[in-house]
Symmetry: D2
Subunit: 295 residues, 4 copies
């Protein structure tokens, strides 16, 4: 299998209208994304507030993303639940409506008993049962769990586990040093895209791409062309912006940045709170300082 | 409102038969519990593997617990989801089939943005919307989140927030020193039941009560009668046993202890692994050493 | 060996005068403590800013404490360094000038390699070499290390390891359930004195005793006489006060409380900062609310 | 001021002979290092077991390092203590005998009160008092403390704070994005040297350089010449080796690797335990697999 997952993917945010999902706003966002350099989308991820959605809502959202994407764009669907059974069940539904990959976050509620052995079993069972390629998703900031290199070494050899997405700050070398050749590793944040790709990652799923897809794609291109000096400059610009947006305010920050950039962001679903006026100004200023107003 | 939540509550475990929930086994367990000194049950909690169940399964289980309990026994239903909306929606379903209380674990996926303000908003919104009393559930070992005393100080004044369950090791004084008078605090583990009640807690929801309900009730009674010397002896017996069972093996350990004690425990749902032969022997020996074989 | 370490001990704070240690202020404090119900003193502990002192300063301070204490009062000296060799060397100096016990905090700098085996070796080597009884000191809030029950189980059998002081929030049952009969366990904070003694601890080394020795002794007496209701009331009064003083401001808070209570507290040594005006007012109000102004 | 701290520095390990420091072995090691490509040395650091040494021992070691180094090689001396006063006092002694830089690890014992304000005050006071350039040293794995970007932003503007060494896994972009132009940032481990230099760091203080100085210098050279493909290959070789040596066994592992490589390593000082026979074999095999036996 040759490297397939490469480039920049937007972890699609879920538009709400007074707490209801708004498929219209989602469509409108997608039609704009279609015209960008994005390699594809990660639907139903952390940034999409997947954990705050019902299964029905998730399938509606995934359906819109699949219908509205560009032909060349790839869609990964976040399908992880706490039990193997639910993950498999929902993954099959995602397959039915056309997802290209399922991205399966580590279960985490029973973290004390989720040993390497349990996690290897989990990913193996899911990959055996689901007919499309599976990606592992390591997201310690959300789950309080970190996949060990030992787990990755093992599951990366499974013929139906195609890669992983990693949002941890310091495990990229560790994963890349043990995984098999056909295993695509994606950075889960623009903050580490530069170093991850230098180390051998093939791209990133980065929340800032929801608001500034083409600027994120520019960083990817500079990294591919090994234009290190230029890439580093753009890295720090996006690193600082990301710290002000997602780093300071999480999903609500990303959504407000989308509003500023001409997409529909809106409020996150409760209990996540909308941004204060000060928070909005802070993000607006950060975008302005980055020279990305009207970009 | 006078103190209502007092005594020992079993956090009902969910029997599986080859990965399917087994309502028959649940019924059979409940019929035995009915004859014990248990003050009631916590259905759909961590120990019940609630996070591994579908909503349909949850309602079936809750229904059996409500039907099979003794008349005097109280039922709390775990209804927490990550979004306010889903928590309220599922809580209302639990109310419809007859739950006495809803127990709402802290949301945790977006932990970095779940500030005191967001959590106060969350519990307030839920308590405003649900027609039966709400309990907060602090479970840092599962969620990676700890409710601050500030949150408890605030929400304990809400007329429809009746109390909390706490499984953290060192926050009991902190919560009891700020909560209002009508706020019932329950220990979430037999390991801290002794100190929690000395500090003013009114009882406990303790996983060991799934296997040894009457012994747990004995500890409660000794604590109520301020028979400190005797209570302390029993505390250490149960503390050590609990460390060998839940402390070492989590849900799978509790289930095996149930098997030894004559209830149906069985295996946890995957990805949680069943106990190894050595783990089983370890627990059997611990029960034997505690003098609780055949208890 | 019968239980010897019982009662309330003050972890003597170190008075500074413009960054120099002030033995005069220390003498004056000690003369007041002599008249209290304190069972003794812990010199050169965390609260004494021992880690900020030179060896020469430490010995001067210990000498004053030993000279000025009451005849019946016991003195433990904090003698832990990072290496076994330095700890033994300094412990012998403390013995020479008359300390009754040495209290040895866990080494912590090389925390990743300080396995149970290394720590058992450490305490054994120190206890073999030092001619007076050794106490282990578990202080995770300072060291980032927690002694395991396994270490305590082992070292509590050493004939020259007499006990331990524990400042962790949730390990007391664990230690008391494994330690030998002649092993005295002291709580390291007034916040857990009530529960620790209910569980079988024999007293406490509590920073608040630097400012309010007799009130702390009152709590001890009520606990000894099993006057649980009264003890609990006093527990919450001191728990809340302690949270405002040591909990909010650490050493600087304790020192200011001493100033308010008529002892010499003064500023901590840099880099610890003195209290702001607001911090001082906050502590003054907390003492006033506790009814301990002029106590 | 132009960039001065560049290249690979060995954090000199301290040879012990039956628990006594062995200056002879140190001399012999230094004479070999003199012939390598090392840009200099970090004496009295974590890897040098500085926290396990007396002040007298520290000065003896520093003196040997200064006498035996090559003319072009730079020496940084670790001089951090817990108090500002002791750090300044010892730094001045290091200056007297000829150190080029002092490297000051964050104080950490009073971590709860070591706010940004306290740390900025600390580094400012030290830099004001010491006549040679000061480096900050961020070592969360040892101290449990992480310097914030805000502290670095501030202190990097101090005319006498020349740079920092960082051993944390994920803060390099953060520090480099806020520090001033004349502030040299060094990676504190070979595991992150590749990414750190890609991001703009000027070199590294890496424990593996104690055993394999020239191979570490090779990685540095490849990175300087932007030979990314080759550098990445060497990165993974050293990353894997480092994980087996320092990552698995800490100081004892580095010392055994030195023994294998023809330097004197020996045992660490107690309470750190020497390597087991299995540990030794594990490291020998890792060196062999890396092709560095006899390198």
């Amino acid at each position: 299998m040759s490297k397939k997952l490469a480039g920049i993917f937007a972890p699609i945010s879920t538009p709400f209208d007074n707490e209801d999902i708004s498929l219209d706003h989602l469509k409108s966002n997608m039609r704009k994304y279609k015209e960008t350099g994005l390699a594809g989308f990660f639907a139903l991820g952390s940034n999409g507030e997947s954990k705050s959605l019902t299964e029905t809502e998730k399938l509606q959202i995934l359906d819109v993303v699949l219908r509205e994407k560009g032909d060349h764009q790839v869609v990964m669907a976040g399908t992880g639940y706490e039990s193997t059974r639910q993950t498999i069940s929902f993954s099959k539904k995602a397959v039915e409506i056309g997802a290209d990959y399922v991205s399966v976050v580590t279960p985490s509620y029973f973290k004390k008993r989720l040993t390497d052995e349990a996690l290897i079993g989990y990913y193996t069972d899911v990959a055996d049962a689901v007919p499309i390629p599976v990606l592992a998703y390591n997201a310690p900031g959300f789950t309080g769990m970190t996949l060990s290199a030992k787990v990755i070494e093992k599951i990366s050899r499974h013929p139906n586990i195609a890669g992983m997405k990693d949002t941890s700050p310091g495990n990229m070398s560790s994963y890349l040093s043990v995984c098999g050749d056909d295993f695509d590793v994606l950075s889960g944040t623009v903050s580490t895209l530069f170093t991850a790709m230098a180390l051998g990652a093939s791209g990133g799923v980065v929340s800032l791409a929801n608001a500034f897809p083409n600027t994120c794609c520019d960083l990817y291109k500079k990294l591919r062309s090994a234009d290190l000096e230029d890439a580093r400059r753009l890295h720090y610009l996006l690193f600082n912006l990301n710290r002000s947006v997602s780093g300071s305010f999480g999903v609500a920050g990303v959504k407000y940045a989308m509003d500023v950039a001409g997409y529909y962001g809106g409020n996150p679903r409760l209990p996540l709170l909308p941004l204060s006026r000060e928070g909005q100004q802070f993000i607006y200023d950060a975008i302005s300082n980055a020279g990305l107003l009207g970009a």
